[in-house]
C-alpha cells in the first residue's frame, strides 16, 4: 500500500512535535515541510528525509501532499486550509482553528462540500481522563447537569518583556483567550455542550501589553444550566499546564484534572461499581497505551485518529472543523461581551 504523503506547514513547537509523532505511524511518510525560517528548514534538510519549502503555496504545488498538518500562527490557518480544500487535501489544523468565526464557518462548508477529512487540534478530546469523563456523563453519572467550572492554569507568560511576534495581538491569534481558553471552552463543548449566551466576561492583563493573560466568563444555557470558565497563563504556582473541570448535577459531583476523576455520588452506581459518597478514578486505572509516546497519550491518539480518518478506518472524526468553529463563536462572544459590559 502506498504511504500517505504528509505535508507539515509551520515548524514551531507544535509542528516539530507533530512531525515526530506522525513520523512514527507505519502508513505515513512526512514528505514536505514549509516554514519561512531558513534556520529551521536548512536544519531539517540536513538531517531529515524531507523536502523543505519557504512557503505553503510552493509546498502544495511541488510536494502534492495527501494531507497536511497546519501548525502556523493562527491567522494563517484560514488561507492555508482554504487553498488545501481547493486542491482536495485533507487537513489537520491546530487550535484555535482560525481567528474569525466567519472564516471558520466558511471552511466548514468548504470541507463538507468536498468531503475532505477535517480535524482541529483540541487535544483534550483524546485525553484519557476527559474521554472517561465524557463516557461517565453520557451515562448520566451525576444526573442532570446544573453547574460547571472549567479552568486552566500555566506559567507560560511570566515576564513583561516578551510581547513580540504573532502572540502579541488578537488579529494574529495571540492572547490567553485564543491560545489557552480555547481549550477550556472546547472541553465544555465536548462534555456539556455549547452555551446559548455568554455573560460576565472579564479580561486581565498581567504581563502582556496588548493581549489578556487571564480571562473569565459565565456560560448560560436555555435549559437552565450554567457554568464558568477561568483561565490564567501567568500563574507561577503551576509547574506545568493544568486543566481542571468540576461538574455538579442532581446526582452528585465530578472533579477532574489530568491525573484523576473524583466522583461524589448521592446513590451508588452499579454499572461503574461506584459507591455512594466519594470515589476516585486515577489515571493509572483509566489510561490506554499508545504505540509511540512523545508528549502525552492524547497527542499521539489525535494524530493517529486523523490518519485513521484519512484511510477511511474511523466512522467519523472526533474533533472536526465544526468543533473549531463553535469554539471561535464563543471566543468572539466573550470579546463582544467584554467590550460591551466588561469595562467600568
Amino acid at each position: 500500500m502506498e504511504k500517505i504523503k504528509i505535508g507539515i506547514i509551520g515548524a514551531g513547537r507544535m509542528g516539530i512535535t507533530h512531525y515526530a509523532i506522525i513520523n512514527s505511524h507505519p502508513d505515513v511518510q512526512v514528505e514536505s515541510i514549509a516554514d519561512p525560517s531558513g534556520l529551521v528548514t536548512t536544519m531539517m534538510n540536513k538531517y531529515l528525509p524531507v523536502k523543505t519549502f519557504k512557503d505553503y503555496n510552493t509546498l502544495f504545488s511541488e510536494a502534492k501532499p495527501d494531507a497536511i498538518l497546519v501548525c502556523t500562527p493562527p491567522a494563517l490557518h484560514y488561507p492555508i486550509a482554504k487553498k488545501a480544500a481547493e486542491l482536495g487535501i485533507h487537513a489537520f489544523v491546530e487550535k484555535p482553528f482560525t481567528t474569525k468565526y466567519k472564516e471558520a464557518s466558511e471552511l466548514v462548508a468548504l470541507y463538507t462540500q468536498k468531503g475532505l477529512v477535517n480535524q482541529v487540534g483540541y487535544v483534550n478530546r483524546f485525553n484519557d481522563v476527559f474521554v472517561k469523563m465524557k463516557e461517565l456523563l453520557d451515562n448520566n453519572i451525576v444526573g442532570e447537569i446544573i453547574r460547571f467550572k472549567s479552568e486552566m492554569f500555566s506559567c507560560t507568560i511570566t515576564r513583561s518583556d516578551v510581547s513580540s511576534g504573532w502572540r502579541a495581538t488578537h488579529e494574529n491569534g495571540g492572547g490567553a483567550v485564543f491560545e489557552m481558553a480555547s481549550h477550556a471552552i472546547d472541553l465544555v463543548h465536548f462534555l456539556i455542550g455549547k452555551p446559548d449566551k455568554i455573560t460576565g466576561s472579564s479580561l486581565n492583563h498581567i504581563y502582556s501589553k496588548n493581549v489578556e493573560d487571564a480571562v473569565s466568563a459565565t456560560f448560560l444555557y436555555k435549559t437552565g444550566k450554567s457554568g464558568t470558565i477561568y483561565i490564567n497563563w501567568s500563574d507561577t504556582s503551576y509547574r506545568k499546564p493544568t486543566n481542571k473541570i468540576e461538574i455538579f448535577g442532581t446526582g452528585g459531583r465530578l472533579l477532574a484534572d489530568q491525573h484523576s476523576i473524583k466522583i461524589f455520588l448521592n446513590k451508588p452506581n452499579e454499572q461503574y461499581q461506584l459507591r455512594q459518597g466519594w470515589n476516585t478514578l486515577y489515571i493509572t486505572s483509566i489510561f490506554k497505551s499508545v504505540p509511540f509516546y512523545v508528549r502525552g497519550n492524547e497527542f499521539t491518539r489525535q494524530l493517529y485518529h486523523f490518519i485513521d480518518c484519512v484511510e477511511g478506518k474511523a466512522p467519523q472524526n472526533l474533533c472536526t472543523f465544526i468543533d473549531g468553529a463553535n469554539a471561535l463563536e464563543v471566543i468572539e462572544n466573550i470579546f463582544k461581551d467584554y467590550e460591551q459590559n466588561g469595562r467600568i
Binding site: N23, M43, T156, T284
Partner: protein, 292 residues
C-alpha cells in the same frame, strides 16, 4: 561497560511532581520548601545503603549540588546520575519566544559572549546549521555546569527530547550525544524514554551501544509504549553488556502496592531501579524489596 548502581534515589518527590495527584504534589512541594528536609531524605537513603542519586537539572538542583560539593569529604562515595534538560524551562521559553531565541537565551543569558542570533547575523546561517551538533553539546554543557566536581556515572537525556529525536529517527544526534558524554564527562550516556522497545531496536540498528536506557517499568503498563509484554520481551533479550536497563515508575505513582510492584520487577532482566520516596520507612521498605 562500567556497571551502574542497582538502587538509585530519584528526585520527583522533591520538586512537587506526582503523576497521580496534584494535591499530593503540592503537599510534597511544601514539605521540601526547606531544603534541609531534602538533605534529611538523602541521609535516610544513605543510611539504608543507597549510594546513588538521580537529579534533574532544574533550579533547585543547583542548591542540592552545592551542598554535596561543599561537603565532599562527607559524601565521598556517592555517585551521580544527572538528567538534562529541565523540560518545562525550555517549553515555556519556546512558547514565549520561539525556538531559536529560546536557545539563544539559554546559552548566553549569563555570558557576555555574543548570542547565537548575533553569530547567525554575522556569519550567516551556515554557522548554526553546520554546527547544530556543537549547539546541542553546548546546551548539554550549560545544564551540566551545576554538577561540576561531583562523581558522575551516567548523564541522561530527558524523555521528551529522547523521544522527539527518536520520532525523527536521527541517528547523528544520539551518536554525537553519547560520544560527548563519554569524552567530556567520562561517564556513560543515558537515554530516558517512554518507548523502550522501539528505542532499543533503533540503537541496535544504528550500532550505538554501551548506553544506559531508563524507562518506566510496571506491571500495569503505565507510561510504557506500546505495552507491558513488549517491555518484558525487550528486557529478556537484552545483553546488559550492550545496554543497561534502569527502571522507574515501578509502582505506577502508587497504583501498585510496593510488594506486588517488586515481585514483578524482580523477575525482569533489568540492571537498576530508580525510585522516589520521602519517608524513612518507604525508603527502607523499597530497598528491602528490590532483589534484582
Amino acid at each position: 561497560m562500567r556497571p551502574i548502581d542497582k538502587i538509585i534515589l530519584g528526585d520527583n518527590q522533591f520538586f512537587g511532581i506526582n503523576h497521580m495527584s496534584e494535591e499530593k504534589a503540592q503537599q510534597l512541594a511544601e514539605k521540601f520548601y526547606d531544603i534541609n528536609n531534602i538533605f534529611k531524605v538523602y541521609q535516610n537513603a544513605f543510611d539504608a545503603g543507597i549510594r546513588a542519586i538521580m537529579l534533574n537539572s532544574n533550579d533547585r538542583a543547583k542548591d542540592i549540588c552545592n551542598h554535596f560539593r561543599n561537603n565532599k569529604s562527607k559524601y565521598a562515595d556517592i555517585s551521580w546520575y544527572p538528567s538534562v534538560p529541565y523540560p518545562h524551562k525550555y517549553a515555556n521559553l519556546v512558547a514565549e519566544k520561539g525556538i531559536f531565541p529560546a536557545v539563544n537565551e539559554i546559552l548566553f543569558k549569563d555570558n557576555s559572549t555574543m548570542g547565537v542570533l548575533g553569530m547567525v547575523a554575522k556569519g550567516g546561517m551556515a554557522v548554526f546549521t553546520k554546527d547544530a551538533m556543537a549547539m546541542m553539546k553546548m546546551l548539554v554543557d550549560v545544564e551540566m555546569k551545576m554538577f561540576k566536581e561531583l562523581d558522575i556515572k551516567v548523564v541522561f537525556l530527558q524523555n521528551i527530547i529522547t523521544d522527539l529525536i527518536l520520532g525523527y529517527g536521527v541517528k547523528e544526534v544520539f551518536y554525537e550525544y553519547c560520544e560527548h558524554i563519554r569524552k567530556k564527562y567520562n561517564a556513560l550516556p543515558g537515554l530516558i524514554t517512554q518507548n523502550l522497545p522501539y528505542l532499543k531496536a533503533k540503537l541496535e540498528e544504528w550500532d550505538i551501544k554501551e548506553v544506559v536506557i531508563c524507562s518506566s517499568f510496571n506491571k500495569i503498563g503505565y507510561l510504557m509504549s506500546p505495552d507491558v509484554e513488549s517491555y518484558v520481551q525487550t528486557a529478556k533479550k537484552n545483553n546488559p553488556a550492550d545496554y543497561q536497563l534502569m527502571v522507574m515508575s515501578t509502582m505506577a505513582s502508587g497504583a501498585i502496592p510496593a510488594k506486588d510492584a517488586y515481585d514483578f520487577i524482580n523477575q525482569q532482566n533489568i540492571q537498576s531501579v530508580v525510585f522516589g520516596a520521602s519517608s524513612e520507612r518507604n525508603i527502607r521498605e523499597t530497598v528491602s524489596l528490590i532483589k534484582i
